[in-house]
Symmetry: C2
Subunit: 295 residues, 2 copies
Amino acid sequence: MSRFETRLKEAAERINTALDGLLPRDQGPESRLLSAMRYSALAGGKRLRPFFTLEVGRMFDADEGMLLRVASAIECVHTYSLIHDDLPCMDDDDLRRGRPTLHRQYDEATALLAGDALLTFAFELLAEPATHTDPQMRCKLILGLAKAAGALGMVAGQAADMAGADIGSDLIAVTRMNRLKTGALINFAVEAGAMVGCASEAEKTALMRYAHDVGLAFQMVDDLLDAEGVARDTGKAVGKDKDRGKVNFVTVLGADATRERIGMLANQAKAHLGLFGHRAHILTDAVDFIVQRRY
Amino acid sequence: MSRFETRLKEAAERINTALDGLLPRDQGPESRLLSAMRYSALAGGKRLRPFFTLEVGRMFDADEGMLLRVASAIECVHTYSLIHDDLPCMDDDDLRRGRPTLHRQYDEATALLAGDALLTFAFELLAEPATHTDPQMRCKLILGLAKAAGALGMVAGQAADMAGADIGSDLIAVTRMNRLKTGALINFAVEAGAMVGCASEAEKTALMRYAHDVGLAFQMVDDLLDAEGVARDTGKAVGKDKDRGKVNFVTVLGADATRERIGMLANQAKAHLGLFGHRAHILTDAVDFIVQRRY
């Protein structure tokens, strides 16, 4: 395991511990709902979004406890989006993070409600005084997360993804869909770390550009893995986009041109970090990890 | 139309205007998602929850513009819960507020996502500075709404409702389920008006007791209408709880005992308002309206 992977794994463990402590206990009359929330939220995964929040915040010496709460809220939103995306009326997936999807393990109604509850819980977490002493900052975090996740952000991307070729099958349409579906929340994960860390405007701008390029490269790798990967590595079904008539970077550009663009985006993402010098070495390593990952 | 009904209708119109102005325009590539949100959020309905927020806030001379934003956020959460409740994996309803349910008018994926987006939008609304000048107040409103709507509030009630007789078929279980499913959000609608109006603790306590009794009476009337009503009046399918093996106040108590309890709760609700004298006359009238309503 590389130095970077060790660091990513440590962050994932801290997030898992934080989520385990923050999520309601699965007891009482609603234990089925609560254990369903835990089943998905504590299922592992790379925890890349919270990793970004933690590492960016750390660059500015932000308080670790606050960062963990913000990162947990972002991961709850990410998890809810996966649960709803996997439902039969959406992608109808059976496998997620190497285990049965929530509606396969429980039932559709429970999965729907557990997703709803995780989304709601993210805002509860952010609104609590423990997240930040300054209520103005808490409101800004809530506003940022809601915009990134909502009807003009992630949910718009999910709707565009469902529309498939109807949204257009050119590079512009696919890029736009992915900026919304995965890019918006990755951007906010980076931005939230910068916000809690009180980064300057110039630093925020550089980090937002980094997040933009990393988010697109991440999605392009995802599309390559969907086209070429194996379920054992990715922990989810593969080859489904093409089967479903969905458009993605590989269906539009082909694998070779997609790989070429990933390389360009990776270099560009690293260049945006120049401003930070050695302080950003983990974010630089993250780029290499993301473009080389097999899962 | 009674004086009260005129006032309720006026409030509903103000809420409709506010929501129409606040919700994103249904244009651009995601126009289908955005128009689906509008289809449900602007479908009418009694707007009872926002009415409570507006009228309670008014008792304390709270700012009307702020109250309208808070009331709109609450109605977005209520609308999202109806959309998800109507989905095939939940109650599988075809009719709502006299029109096809959202998934019948559009499709399941769009309904799921429109519900998600409305829930998210509620928190976006509350977090914006226009909702209240004091960010501490905005955080308190967000926290209150998230708790009322979340895994230990409304969503727990929806889960208990789906579990049907498995949760127990006695009065305690049914009361608990309804306190969560509809009571929590009605309570918060009243509480939010008191919060924005800076009510005293004694005033808040009286209003919370009022909300508790009104919420239960409201649900008992709903159950009577489901058992005895006609779809034309209620704007939704009727007689479905029994057909589905669900437990409600009428299946547990019978219609006569339910009616008797509604009368007791109505008197008790009005008694809690004694503290406010004539200032609370609209809230007193609301009790009569709720227990006498046929829709």
